[in-house]
């Protein structure tokens, strides 16, 4: 039996190597909202450029480093890789430098400043943003109506942190409300609060972690307060239950998530009406920009062809076509690119406003690869402090320790 399989496999391998078409290996992130559309887009490229084929493979986010690092270390990096903000800078040294193929500033200036930060590495341009995500605040319209609270639709009247907390307390008094705000347990979501307090994770020179102690303390104490008041449920912190399912229960007042939730909520539908609103502010307004990028590897087999594909995607008309094929649930990372967001327009308004109010350095901070390396450790410390298991000083000193281990790692 397995001899047959070997023969078939050998036959396939021979067939592939003999054919004249070039096949680029593409590794995509598992994402029901986008994976089909990306493959569709690549098919369009194949149709326009004969001789170029794509061999697409999909990997889930949780196994992303495992798969990519294995391929890279094994000498078989993919020609094109889809990657998130958390990982794009990690591979910066190996990335295909697009400035070899086109003009640097012209390419960069197509994109929103936040997204330029993600794809710059020294003088190189290491990838192309294909979609933008932004954190957003969702709320259950039924519960808010029952509590008699109107949500502001005007950017001039945004809740402060205190007002946000009070609103949640009011809604939670309802019997039909079991959960205040479904808040995903991750560093990225928590970082929202840090940025709203005008603090950052890593200093501009890259040597110190949490340089603005006051802002950090502010964010830490506020969030701990939310948990102590049971506004953030234990199933979220530290239970690590996803926010999406919690919000869909219909007994949750708000969800601190992002525009990626829109597709499920709008197309799958909910048995209750929901809306989106602006994030509360503290010192400043801030939301965490994120997104997906495509990048290449300088040492991959077909890196020149890969560069052509990436630059084709970087054309405004291609990006626009791709985003519109998604139905409009994901945002455009490009400047001056009007995209039709269809039925999502109303929901995206507050989020787009939050995005424009977010200072550029937030994206720079989020793009740091060291932040990604520290993910698990920082999350542990955040959980320990927020759930009352550790004190403030102990937590901050532990974070300092962990940070210096990584930030001061000797360069090879």
């Amino acid at each position: 039996m397995h001899r047959l399989v070997v023969c078939v496999a050998a036959g396939l391998l021979i067939a592939v190597s003999v054919s004249e078409a070039k096949t680029l290996s593409v590794l995509l992130l598992a994402n029901a909202s986008t994976q089909t559309q990306i493959q569709q887009l690549l098919k369009e490229y194949s149709a326009e450029n004969s001789g170029i084929d794509f061999n697409v493979s999909i990997v889930p986010y949780s196994s992303f480093t495992a798969k990519v690092n294995t391929l890279v270390a094994g000498g078989e990096p993919p020609d094109i890789l889809e990657v998130t903000t958390a990982y794009i800078q990690t591979y910066a040294d190996l990335a295909l430098d697009l400035t070899q193929y086109t003009d640097r500033s012209e390419l960069l200036n197509r994109y929103l400043p936040s997204y330029q930060a993600f794809i710059k590495s020294g003088n190189k341009v290491i990838g192309i943003p294909i979609e933008a995500t932004i954190n957003g605040l969702f709320y259950n319209k039924n519960l808010f109506a029952q509590a008699g609270i109107t949500v502001s639709a005007d950017p001039a009247h945004i809740w402060t942190w205190m007002q946000f907390k009070e609103t949640l307390e009011r809604v939670m008094k309802l019997r039909s409300c079991r959960i205040g705000v479904a808040y995903d347990c991750s560093v990225q979501r928590w970082s929202n609060l840090l940025y709203q307090a005008n603090g950052r994770w890593i200093s501009t020179d890259g040597r110190q972690i949490l340089p603005d102690r006051q802002a950090a303390t502010q964010a830490l104490t506020f969030f701990r307060g939310l948990i102590e008041a049971k506004l953030v449920p234990t199933s979220s912190w530290p239970g690590k239950t996803d926010g999406g399912p919690l919000f869909k229960t219909g007994v949750t007042a708000m969800m601190w998530a992002g525009n990626w939730e829109l597709k499920t909520l709008v197309e799958g539908g909910t048995l209750f009406p929901f809306g989106t609103t602006f994030f509360p502010k503290d010192a400043i307004r801030a939301a965490c920009p994120g997104g997906e990028f495509v990048m290449g590897f300088a040492k991959s087999q077909n890196h020149d062809d890969a560069a052509k594909v990436l630059l084709w995607w970087a054309k405004p008309e291609t990006t626009k076509r791709y985003l519109e094929s998604l139905g409009g649930s994901l945002l455009s990372p490009m400047q001056n690119l009007p995209v039709n967001y269809g039925k999502y327009t109303e929901y995206l308004k507050p989020m787009l406003d939050d995005l424009s109010a977010t200072p550029d350095w937030v994206a720079e901070d989020l793009a740091r690869p060291q932040l990604n390396l520290l993910q698990n450790d920082l999350l542990d410390q955040l959980i320990l402090y927020s759930t009352g298991r550790a004190g403030l000083d102990a937590t901050l000193s532990r974070i300092d320790q962990l940070g210096s281990q990584v930030l001061n790692r000797p360069k090879q």
Partner: protein, 279 residues
């Protein structure tokens, strides 16, 4: 035996059966939740309190499963891999178990501890060396790469050894005296007598290979060579999870393994050594 006592015994058995089934159902509550949720339309999924009214059931998630990729291909790949690999495992581990159980030879202790120590090797941190070895063999992106490497299981060997230890040496001696070669002893004496363990190892091996995730993740890149588990894992997206489709998919993927179990358990659990063992 008086008829009255006979009836009481029968009644006792039926009560016992019912209790067993009830305990079983309570035991399966998490699974029932998953399966019933698979039938929920998207807006009702995760609703609180849950509404498991069959009239509200929908097959939309199951349809989405087949829309998520070339599921019949993945199923075929999983089937090929699981069946072939289990066969190899059953043969290899019974041979190894026989050697460890019924022979005294130089290095026996060492090889035994070696096999156990393999169980302690966490593949998760060794993915890069494994990839390089498979690349040298040319087994990357090839179903062979997920059939053969995991087929030699230390657990299977261990299980077979334990079982074969229980086969009386007299039978082997008798066969040897009648002039049987070692291979014949294995083939005609050991294999038939260890049928229960063979069945157990076969079923377990099938389950393991069917549910394998790490090996296929390392080895397979081509979408069409994916197994069901790889495809199922892709429903866990970067930021959101396709819960409905995932639960439906998981419900479907467990059916073949259960079928294998049901078919084989009756076959291998009937036998015993009643004839050979003198009480």
């Amino acid at each position: 035996m008086r008829p009255k006592t006979e009836a009481r015994v029968q009644f006792g058995r039926i009560v016992y059966d019912t209790v067993a089934l009830c305990v079983c159902i309570i035991f399966l509550v998490p699974v029932l939740w998953a399966v019933l949720s698979a039938f929920q339309p998207p807006q009702s999924l995760f609703l609180f309190p849950p509404n498991f009214d069959p009239r509200g059931f929908s097959l939309i998630n199951f349809r989405a499963v087949f829309g998520s990729g070339d599921v019949p291909s993945y199923a075929l790949n999983s089937l090929i891999v699981a069946t072939t690999s289990s066969l190899i495992t059953v043969i290899a581990s019974s041979m190894a178990g026989f050697a460890l159980a019924k022979y005294r030879f130089l290095g026996r202790q060492f090889i035994f501890m070696l096999i156990i120590s393999v169980l302690l090797i966490p593949l998760q941190v060794l993915m890069v060396p494994v990839f390089q070895i498979l690349k040298t063999l040319g087994w990357i992106n090839n179903l062979i790469g997920i059939i053969i490497p995991p087929a030699a299981t230390a657990t299977g060997t261990f299980m077979m050894r334990q079982y074969i230890l229980g086969i009386p040496d007299d039978l082997l001696e008798a066969a040897r005296i009648e002039g049987a070669s070692e291979w014949n002893i294995y083939y005609r004496v050991i294999l038939p007598l260890s049928a229960p363990a063979l069945g157990a190892v076969g079923i377990l091996s099938f389950t393991w290979r069917w549910n394998d995730y790490l090996w296929p993740l390392i080895v397979i890149s081509d979408q069409q060579k994916f197994t069901l588990q790889l495809s199922l894992a892709n429903l866990v997206g970067t930021n959101t999870v396709e819960w409905g489709t995932l639960l439906a998919y998981a419900t479907l993927t467990m059916i073949p393994v259960l079928v294998v179990f049901i078919c084989f358990q009756r076959y291998f659990l009937k036998g015993s050594l009643t004839g050979a063992v003198k009480g």
